[in-house]
Amino acid sequence: MNKNRLSTVELREVFFTALYTKAFSAVVRYIARMGGSLEEAQDIFQDSLVIYYEKITSSPAEIIVNEKAYLLGIAKKLWLQHYKASSKHEPLNDFDTVAVTDEQPATLKILHYLQTSGKKCMELLKAYYYDELPVRDIATLFGYSGTHSATVGKYKCLEKVRETVKQKSLNYADFIEQY
């Protein structure tokens, strides 16, 4: 899928609405059958949509023939991960294994800090690295005079955020281990 087709909030809203009507009930039925709650089903479906979005907008984009089946497949995998991570379902012989989570607690603390103190830079970096918007669009969106200024702005923000990560990491013992 062409990334430009999902480059605005409005276009993504249309896209996600279509997926809700197409696949939400199948995912919810599966979670209900597996003993999950409505809240868990909603959370799993929303995470599945995030992963699906990343798959179809990545380069090279994956070609997906059956959206509903693909989303259900992601949801099943996420549910199994969720089920295993939940301690009450953990088999006794696995009690001493450490669950591997996607994010370290320190990373989440730093992210929370950056969301409040460096929001503008985070928005710019998100536009570059997560949304992968064209530089020209980013320049317009963030009020830069041209693509060169926008690129320099990106590196300035990256430097600022990197410095925050470095400074904050000194406060969080669990982060140091990542070096």
Binding site: V9, R12, E13, F16, T17, Y20, T21, F24, S25, V28, R29, A32, S37, L38, A41, Q42, Q46, D47, L49, V50, Y53, E103, T107, L108, I110, L111, L114, Q115, M122, L125, K126, Y129, Y130, D131, V152, Y155, K156, L158, E159, V161, R162, V165, K166, S169, F175, Q178, Y179
Partner: protein, 88 residues
């Protein structure tokens, strides 16, 4: 660009896989010899991970808003209510 920004660009090129193969090998050799450089690369890698996590959070917030809108729209209200009934 000033030197520090150029250094950030070089690390960015390396981490994103945009650096030509020969340059990447040379860069890896430099990292072995320069502890500060290898730490900068590690921190920038974590920074990229945080940006990705931020992107995911923002996207999920958009999805939650879509669901809330669907639940409020008359034409989809019955569909959402039928789904909720599966848990009663």
């Amino acid at each position: 660009m000033r030197t520090s920004l150029n250094n950030i660009k070089i690390i960015d090129d390396y981490l994103s896989g945009c650096m030509p193969h020969g340059d990447a090998l040379l860069f890896e050799a430099k990292m072995l010899l320069n502890n500060d450089l290898s730490k900068d690369v590690a921190v920038q890698g974590v920074t990229n991970k945080i940006i990705r996590q931020y992107g995911r959070q923002c996207l999920k917030a958009e999805i939650i808003a879509v669901q809330a809108k669907l639940a409020a729209e008359p034409k989809h209200k019955a569909y959402i209510q039928r789904i909720a009934k599966l848990f009663k």
